[in-house]
Amino acid sequence: MSKAKSDLLQGTLDLLILKILDLEPMHGWGISQRILQMSESVLQVNQGSLYPALHRLEEQNWITSEWKTSENNRQAKYYELTKRGRGQLATERENWLRLSVAVGRIVGTA
């Protein structure tokens, strides 16, 4: 497994997951669909990254999980943001904004 390549992606993915769960509790499938929709099909999340990330975030106690009946009437594992997760989201969001502005300055967007 190449750690260096996935690190940036991972951090970004964490931010995306937290942001989406901030809107409402959601299962893994739903999160992947929502990222796709909200990014207007630019960001396609690989399942191989999504689920380990969810488990890692749960391990950090930023999100919790619960089995609930889904919109198509099946049992699905819903993830929900915790209080600590909300704090983490704020921090990561700020980091991301600072970073993107900085990167933008260098590569010259306007």
Partner: protein, 888 residues
């Protein structure tokens, strides 16, 4: 790694559920993807295939999810343990050899450590034991380390010191305790009223002393020790309040002590100072030189030992200046303070640490042995490791797995060792009682178990690490080579080094055991100066209340007893003496020091008077024990109270006080009765009555008939086995007076045997350790050589095919073994020279670098090196060259 307890708990208790949920979660995702694909118009089969493709390899994905959890680390541990156990089960021979080797090593360490911990390291069972100190009056110039205290001296230290919170006194007396039908001798501790308070001892039942119990006119009360209460009073739950007669006064039991070690000596019971007839007499209290007591104290809070020492030295100086007639010159009187724990245990320290060192050595050797076994096994499975490495097992994972395996082995060894240790412990505890009253505190408890766990894990890491690293280093290369047969050069050197180290350590251990054995042999060859065979010794304590009317009563009793005992069939002769040679009580107390003067040689003011140990004996004593007369005469029946006072001295005293002169006819007087001059009439040979290891001190013998009183120890020479006479002698004594207490009834040879118990047990233990070490080293060399030989099979086969004589090959291999042994011996000699100095205080008439021992042990190891490599070498010479060549 951050430790997340909920995650670990989830892993431990909900693992199947977590796995199931992961499956369900992924299946849900897959199903939704299929639905989506179908909604976009794909046929069912196509939709499923596409969905599976987007999800990717499920196994790897699940693994990544598991990896994200903390519990993952436990999971790999479980896997490693599982795999390790399977490997160990598959290699029964290796597992058995390794576990049993370690069991011996760890068991020995656990047993010895529980001894060391219980006696030397465990905090005292007294309140704030660290603040308790012992006071020693000393005369450094005359090398007297311990002068007892007089009442006046203790009072001075109590009143003048600024660092002591309280001072306690203690002395030991033997009294007779009687109830309505029996009388028995009781070892009585006479203590100040604050004794138990200062120690912080709370009674098991009843109460201990209070200050009022130690006031003049207080009602006599006693406190029983736990052991005495259990063993002599049947653990009577209603003992408190009962009365016994002692010193013709009723004494009431007020309490029983808990089972704790007693300081400074084990006693049957305790009384306060005002009840002791000697201690409470006005004359005794007024005499600054009437010394009998031991003093100890509790330091004030936050006072260090150094501060207390400085303070008390000052008090000692003031005392010396105020009483110049009592204290000799400066430099001849000094006060030394020592921590109570050190004082309780210092005689045990050297022996115990030597034994712990020995056990530690055994464990090191066991480690080296098991490491070598691991190496041998790894060589055989190198191909497997190489395959696993090639399949992507990371190096750290492989190392971890091998460590898991070695720790499993060492934990197994530790467990088996723990099962072995208690077997040895009971013997060891008995051994320890000779060194310290703290032996009663020796148990296999939590600290010992922790220690054992720690050394088990430690040894596992130690013997697992080296093979683990060296094997993963070049596994890829091993695979290229086809793996297996040929150990790499690095292996060989490490393993040879292990064998050399093993030999060196066992060499040192064997030297230690050899020195102890030689010293013990010398000790047992010591001539005690009298004939110990066919002698029986009995200690008698008459009830003094029955013989108090006149002094003649006691001499009548003596006469009566001797008359009856001599009449017994088989009794050759009998004598009564104040202390029996080699008796446990005599060895424990050591020789006394009584001041005396020699006529015509006055002792000037401030000088130290000559001192001597006094034995009071009757006219039959020297003949009965077989002590030789060197010149002059010994006592006769005519040396009675009406005849001129006479004395017999030993050769040591004659040489010491009358060098080159003739002491016979000279007169001496004791300081306690300076005008009663006594004439020396004879010189007898020296005896080692205070222990075979202690050369005779100055001794003077005085006749019972002239000294009066009762000499407690009856010594009987019998015509046949002395034990057989015992019942007859007991019966005779009972007929004379049924209230005479009898104890320390043993043959002189039993006394002699017991007196040598401490060096004997130390020697035996070190001998066992050395034997274990030697066996393991032999095994180590043999295993090393046999593996080396197997690896060289091809080479040796070629040599044989080319016409080498088998004999030459055998001698070549044996030479390799001897070279290893020689290297080990060279290292071992260096180690032994450095370490055996620590043994010096335990050795009798043996140098710690005794040439004979070093030579003998070196030869043993050269022989062992040769013998251990001969067997594998012999096998080689029988090889069929052709099959050896095909072997690869």
């Amino acid at each position: 790694m951050k430790f997340n307890w909920t995650s670990i708990a989830r892993f431990l208790f909900r693992r199947p559920a977590v796995e199931r949920e992961l499956d369900d979660e992924l299946r849900y995702h897959l199903d939704r993807q299929i639905e989506l694909n179908m909604a976009r118009g794909m046929p069912a089969e196509e939709a499923r295939r596409a969905a599976v493709l987007t999800v990717g390899p499920v196994g790897a994905l699940k693994d990544d999810c598991r990896d994200a959890r903390t519990g993952r680390f436990l999971e790999t541990l479980f896997q490693d343990v599982h795999y390790g156990l399977r490997v160990l089960r598959k290699n029964r021979g290796f597992t058995f050899a390794a576990v049993s080797t370690l069991a011996l090593g760890i068991g020995a360490n656990a047993a010895i450590f529980s001894l060391v911990y219980g006696v030397l390291l465990r905090p005292l069972p007294y309140r704030d034991g660290g603040q308790l100190v012992v006071l020693h009056q000393q005369n450094p110039k005359a090398e007297v380390p311990e002068i007892p205290f007089s009442v006046k001296e203790l009072t001075d230290y109590r009143e003048r010191s600024h660092t002591l919170q309280s001072v306690v006194e203690h002395h030991s007396m033997v009294f007779l305790l009687s109830d309505s039908h029996t009388a028995e001798r009781v070892q009585t501790a006479v203590v100040s009223g604050n004794f138990f308070d200062v120690l912080g001892v709370r009674p098991l039942m009843g109460r201990t002393f209070v200050d009022a119990d130690d006031q003049k006119g207080a009602a006599p009360v006693i406190v029983l020790s736990y052991k005495y209460w259990r063993e002599h009073r049947g653990g009577d739950p209603k003992i408190v309040g009962k009365t016994f007669e002692m010193n013709s006064k009723p004494h009431t039991v007020i309490g029983v002590l808990p089972p704790i070690p007693q300081y400074p000596a084990e006693s049957d019971l305790y009384m306060t100072t005002v009840q002791c007839p000697t201690r409470s007499s006005e004359r005794f209290k007024a005499n600054r030189k009437a010394r009998m007591m031991i003093g100890f104290a509790r330091l004030k809070p936050d006072v260090s030992l150094e501060q207390a020492q400085a303070d008390l030295s000052l008090v000692a100086d003031q005392m010396r200046q105020a009483n110049p007639e009592v204290y000799p010159q400066p430099g001849e009187y000094k006060m030394a303070v020592a921590g109570l724990r050190d004082d309780l245990t210092h005689s045990a320290r050297t022996t115990f640490f030597v034994l712990l060192g020995g056990a530690g050595f055994v464990l090191l050797i066991a480690c080296a042995n098991v490491a070598n076994l691991m190496f041998a096994r790894l060589l055989r499975m190198e191909r497997e490791i190489a395959v696993r490495a090639a399949l992507g097992a990371s190096k750290s994972r492989l190392v971890r797995q091998m460590l898991t395996e070695s720790i499993l082995v060492s934990l197994g060894g530790g467990l088996a060792g723990l099962a072995l240790a208690p077997l040895a412990l009971s013997v060891l505890v008995k051994f320890a009682t000779r060194y310290s009253t703290r032996a009663a505190e020796v148990h296999m408890d939590a600290p010992v178990l922790l220690f054992t766990l720690a050394i088990a894990v430690g040894t596992g890491v130690l013997f697992g690490l080296a093979p683990a690293f060296s094997s993963t280093k070049d596994s890829a290369e091993a695979l290229k080579r086809g793996g297996g047969r040929n150990g790499t050069g690095g292996h060989q050197i490490v393993r040879a080094g292990l064998v050399v180290a093993q030999v060196a350590v066992s060499f040192t251990l064997l030297i230690g055991a050899g020195l102890m054995a030689r010293s013990f042999l010398k000790l047992s060859e010591v001539d005690p100066g009298f004939r110990t065979d066919h002698l029986l010794s009995l200690r008698m304590t008459p009830n003094s209340a029955r013989y108090r009317q006149s002094p003649d009563q006691l001499s009548a009793l003596t006469e009566n007893l001797m008359h009856r005992i001599k009449a017994i069939n088989g009794v050759v002769s009998a004598a009564m003496v104040s202390s029996a040679p080699l008796s446990p009580s005599g060895i424990a107390s050591g020789p006394g020091n009584v001041d005396f003067n020699i006529a015509g040689r006055p002792v000037s003011q401030g000088q130290l008077a000559p001192q001597v140990d006094i034995t009071i004996a009757d006219e039959n004593y020297f003949g009965t024990i077989g002590q030789g007369v060197v010149s002059g005469r010994v006592f006769t029946a005519h040396d009675d109270a009406r005849a001129p006072a006479v004395a017999v001295i030993n050769q040591a005293m004659a040489r010491h006080r009358w060098p080159g002169g003739n002491p016979i006819g000279e007169r001496i007087a004791f300081a306690y009765n300076p005008d009663a001059w006594i004439t020396v009439v004879g010189i007898v040979s020296d005896t080692r009555e205070y222990g075979l290891g202690h050369p005779a001190k100055d001794e003077i013998y005085l006749p019972t008939a002239q000294q009066g009183g009762f000499s407690n120890n009856l010594i009987v020479r019998t015509a046949f086995e002395p034990g057989a006479a015992e019942p007859l002698i007991r019966a005779a004594i009972r007929e004379v007076d049924p209230f005479i207490g009898l104890d320390q009834v043993e043959t002189m040879q039993e006394f002699e045997y017991e007196s040598m118990a401490p060096p004997r047990v130390t020697t035996v233990l070190l001998g066992i350790f050395a034997a274990l070490a030697l066996m393991m080293s032999v095994g180590g060399i043999a295993a090393m050589m046999s593996l080396a030989v197997t690896q060289q099979t091809r080479e040796l086969g070629i040599r044989l095919a080319l016409g080498a004589r088998p004999g030459a090959i055998v001698s070549r291999v044996v030479r390799q073994g001897v070279v290893l042994a020689a290297a080990g011996i060279a290292l071992g000699i260096a180690g032994a020279v450095a370490l055996t100095r620590l043994l010096a205080t335990l050795l009798y008439a043996t140098s710690p670098v005794d040439t004979a021992t070093f030579l003998a042990v070196s030869l043993v190891f050269l022989g062992v090196g040769a013998a251990a490599s001969f067997v594998p070498a012999r096998q080689v010479s029988l090889i069929d060259p052709l099959s050896a060549l095909r072997n690869e």
